[in-house]
Amino acid sequence: MEASRRFVVIWFSDWLANISCPSEMRPACVIEERSMGAYLVAANATAQKLNIHAGQRLSEARVLAPELVTYPVDWAKSTRHLQRVARWANRFTPWVGYDPVADGLILDITGCAHLFGGERALLDHIVTQLARHAISARAACAGTIGAAWALAHHAPTTPVILPQGQEAEALMPLSVKALRLSDEQYRLCRQFGLDRISHIMRQPRASLVQRLGAGVIERLDQAFGQVAETVDPLRPPTRFHVTHVPLMPIQSREEVMFVLSNLVDDLVAELHRAGRGARRIDVRLIRTDRAVLSVSLALSHPIQLATHIVRLLTERLEHVQIRLDQDLAIEQLEMLASQTDIMSAHQDALFASLRQGQKQALAHLCDRILARLGQAPTRPLLRGRYMPEKVVRFIPITEPLLEPPLKTPLEPWSSPQKSEGALTPEAHIRKGWLAARPIILLPHAEQIDVIAEIPEGAPRRFRWRRRLYEVVMAAGPERISPEWWCEELPHSPDAMGQTKASLTRDYFRLEDSNGYRFWLYRDGLFTRETVLPRWYMHGFFA
């Protein structure tokens, strides 16, 4: 073992709170919803002063501070941020690893410190730089990871630098917790009264192993340098990344496309091996003046098909100005599949089924429209609503047609609808649940004059766009009440037609003397909602 390895351990003491609610001055906490309810996973400094800490139930913390602000935990974000900080730390040494025990980093700075003005300067630099980004950090430097960890977490003040060979002296008075013990190991030590590392050192080794298990002793040896421990360094993401540096800078669009199509082949081969398809492809063209031209492709399905990607790239690059001349040519081309998905392999059938082929063709079409227009095509989505104008919404064509299926009703009779198509109006009309809907719905209902029986009778004649229509046949009413949950307030006291609140509609299907068929409605129930109901034309059947 080398005599003079040096390690730095950085501990982000309020990591989750720092990244989730960086500028929150009020008491705030980060919560995670678990099956037993919401729990705190972190609390900011203001909240900690009120005795609020990670591990509490939210309800408990709320009792202590009713004004507590909550942020949902975002583990992905935490990981992303930690990665960023780790990459930033790469500038100090190539050997940067995550701390597997706590939110922190472990740096092997052997032979690096002098580049930054010595260990002291290095630590100060790290801590102040992090503080500038609102990350509170404690750091320590020592000859073993264990010792540096113990000091970073348990030294009264940080940053600390521990010279070689002074581990025993520095660590003895610290709590046994500084040995990176598991909860169970720590509990056992406490029960024997072995609170401090010095207490443990005093016991016969063999008895300790027998009673506490070998793990504790190993941690002890790691801290004191009896057992070697090294950093497990990060590796940059190199998957699905292909580059090409031409012998001479490239100067023509055709050549660019040629190189790119070769790169696509390489990338696809790599995706193939990994069983993944690209969802997003980033292309970087680096000019001789180091300016970078970036183009990205978003794909609706995981794709491994080289010809399709090349086609999309060609279409995409048509719109991009590639200014190339003698001096400024492209000297490097990179291609990266930055998002990938597992590619579900289908067998290529001898006679490819029509449906499958259509689906793929549609997806490819979407990609092309998206690549050309930058905007995805839409299609109507039918929603389970009673209000006719709310039934349709337009969604990107690639999204699934139906709203996600509802939870299965708890009882067989709990609802009138049982079939899977329960949510589409078509299914309802087909089954007779909703009365027929018109072929054409006016974009906005138009107010009309109507002669009808009071209170609930069907129209006899009406005037629409200055023409008079005589009603020969009428069916109705189909009564549709407003969606109260979208209104200002349910049953506000002045609801007698005075407020903007919508009213109940009575829809009638009518046929006039010429055989035209209309769909119109009375807005508001006579006396119950309004004294003077108005009438509206809303659609036509033929």
Binding site: E67, R211, P409, E478, Y507
Partner: protein
Amino acid sequence: MMQNYAFAELTAISNFSFLHGASHPHEMVARAAALGYQAIGLADINTMAGQVRAHKAAQQYGIRFLPGARLRSQCGCEMIAYPRNRNAYGALCEMLSAGNLKARKGQCVLTREDFLDLAARADLIWVWVPPVVLEQPADWQAFLQALQQRAGGYVYALLAPYYGGDDPRRWREIMAVAVGARPLAGLDPLYHVPERRPLQDVVTCIRLGLKIDRAGYYVQANAERHLKPLDVLADLYAAWPEAIANTHQIVSACSFSLDLLAYQYPDDSFDPQLTPQEVLRQRTYEGAEKRFPEGLPDKLATLLEHELSLVASLNYAPYFLTVDDIVQFARRRHILCQGRGSAANSAICYCLGITSVDPSRLDLLFERFVSAERNEPPDIDIDFEHERREEVIQYIYARYGRDRAAIAATVISYRRRSAIRDVAKVMGLSADLASAMLSLSWGGGNQPPPDDHIRAAGIDPNQPLVRMVLVMAAQLIGFPRHLSQHVGGFVITRDALDSLVPRLNAAMPERTFIEWDKDDLDALGILKVDILALGMLSAIRRSFDLLAAHYGRSLDLASVPAEDEAVYDMLCRAESTGVFQVESRAQMNMLPRLKPRDFYDLVIQVAIVRPGPIQGDMVHPYLRRRAGEERVDYPSTELRAVLEKTLGVPLFQEQAMRIAVVGAGFTPAEADQLRRAMASFRKTGVIDQFSERFMSGMAARGYTPEFAENCFRQIEGFGEYGFPESHAASFALLVYVSAWLKCHYPAVFTAALLNSQPMGFYAPAQLVREAQRQGVTVLPVCVNASCLEADIEMSDHHYALRLGFNQISGLSMAGCEALMQARDQAPFDSVRDCARRSAVPLGVLEKLARADGFSGLGLNRRQALWAVRALRSEYHQDVLPLFAAADQDPCPEDDDEADLPPLSLGQEVLEDYATLRLSLKAHPMSFVQKHPLFQRYRSLSSLSRLPNGRKVEIAGLVICRQRPGSARGVVFLTLEDADSQANIIVWPDRFEQYRPAVIAGRLLVVSGHVQRAGMVTHIIADAIKDDTALLSSILTRSGVDEAMVEGAVARHHRVLGQHQPGRRTPREMPWRGT
């Protein structure tokens, strides 16, 4: 024209069709009456649960009510059935029962074939509720024809206006399918007024687990499913006048009413030669002989004859014999039991051994219990030992069969918490926001949180969505959510229960209960026996057992020496920790003021510290009169007779009733209605009518308005929290017996209490401390001496209390038994010896070591644990292998001496609390009080000597915190130091200011001033400081371990909120978030 329409709505459902209907039964009935309907029929989905309520409401509003059910089969066939006579009703209930019992809780499995069977057997009216879409019409046609063949002409088809666009065409279709059936007009209402439609949508969403904006067509399109005025109906059914006329036809065809349910007492189990009355007489006199071996006192003899003749005239003898049978079973099994409630008024009950209060010692009213005027069944509640009640219940099932005995239901209703939570979920608010809305409100009240609480939680109550949630929740509160079994109300019948009311499966296996709750049964006059559980009875039985085993003295409830001076002396000193009922802070404060000197004083003591007398402002006048500071006068001579024994101040429920009769001119029947109204006035609000009647009656008889108002306020207070005298007497007996045990055998009594935990107000630490104060030697848990339970042991020629293994939390009792068996040969001499001979799992030994159970072997807990852990290699997977050669070749004790840091006394105490919930070594506060930082605080024992208004600063551990619902936001804290306790009052403004400290603090420093009333001292808090962090560092000196302190102290301060039957503890605040 309109008057010709006699219309009856027969298709309504209520909110007892759980999460379908959106109106209470009484709302539905009241609305129908207001609209001038001829009758209303309520047919809930596969249940009869709401019927009695609707029946009662119909009587109140003067409208004819038809009981029925809406039957839904698994295949989606829906029929409404109305029984035409008693037999048909029974058959209907039987079918529902069978369907319920086939399914898991809350479901009912029925098929079309069941309907056809039932139609053939019984005279029912059948109304077909056609599905909205008529698929497979031929199928329906065949079924309806089959039904008509069996049910004769009584098949109808419902024509309901759903406003779906073409109702008239639909109706024609329906009638085309239902060939031969008659059309029936009905609105198929889900709620009584259209304003309930949003709520109906919400409950639908709750039922289906949907959010409202994703509910799609699962909710109704419009608000038309309500009761409509007659003229609207006339228009709707203009083309079908027959449909309306048919509603009238059904009403006249149904002669059945719930009033016809004549209840039959079980009587098959008695001597066939004798009538039940003769058996009862015989048993009563046998019992009387046992109770009074020297001969029956004259007073009692007259009482008995009077009661027996009354019982005979009302034919209640079988009921008494049923109860007697249950009590005799308990006697045979040595299960301690005692009747409570009005049964204690009865000499028969005393002679039969149902109650233990000698009626000749009291002057009780038999008429309160059984009366000829009130045609209601007597109500006997019996307490059993809480650990053995299940045996009694199983006996009843075995004795009468599950088809004749079942538990009554409890209707579980929406409360604030559940309502807000469910509505918020439907409206799309996050669970977090919902709990924030609730965070400032205590418990599960009956109102949504007030706006200022919402605002204080950082939520704008006028934000539309929040407002909507609050409005909906307010409506939803009080809605029944599901049925659950009552804690102990048993219904026993002569014939099969199923023909009376359907039964259901309970969540608990092997349990069934009926669909009606206590109020429903009361209203119909159906017998029930309450089989209740009481922890104190367990403790008393254990005390009697210990007395018999160690002192050779055998006693029972009735034979404990009566009127013992020493017992009353002890109670007058307020030394009542552990004593039944009078151990609460309020009762302890009252004891020195009331100074009970005889049994009747205890009866008053039990009854007086109740919200009823307190709210009625009756406590202080009574105390003044008792102390002779105020003249005892009576408002009139008639009232003198009523109030004489309580010095002119009404304290008992019966007195309130008698005042209404004597003072306000109520008839006894009216007074009884008043009593019932008292019990439920908060729900129904009918008390106002009584109030007027009461006031004018009192004024007419010349009483002052103030007196009248006082009386009435007290009657209101009794509503929820009053005690009848007889009930107080039963409880007073347990007070006396437990106080007698505590006074004369404190070691026995404490051991019994420790073994009956959890119960009562105090944690084991306080109970043990109280015993030590009384001079009992308490010995620690010891591997060589303890038994499973706390026990009595001879130590230095006197009795001492030895803690048992049950004091160690989470210890396996099977392991301890193995250990005790191995110990019988010879005591253990080392940890290794103990492990070898007993072969208990390593985990058990570790727990014992941690609890300091090896101290008898000279090992402290660390050394013992060290030795136990050394055995790890000899154990395979935590279990000791069979040591075949162990005895021949014992390994030498692993004697590598460990250099373990010794425990400080403070650490020992902490560990004791963590493992045993108490410490015999020292009080945690004794360390704190010695600490320089705490020197300046006053000791709690000195407070009682301070004058009123003196400023003080005190420190102590919180052992109890309460915020009773009746105290309007005031928090009561009890602090404890090494030798005394103090009561702190925190007013609401202070509470808000020092909220975290009050809620979560374990060691508090309170500055405040003394407030004294009589012998009672309170400290009114001005400022509160939380010094819990110091506690741990003081105790451990070097310690850093917060968690252990938290655990230890939390256990020590176990919130004393266990439910105890008969005591309605206002729930403590949710400070540990359980």
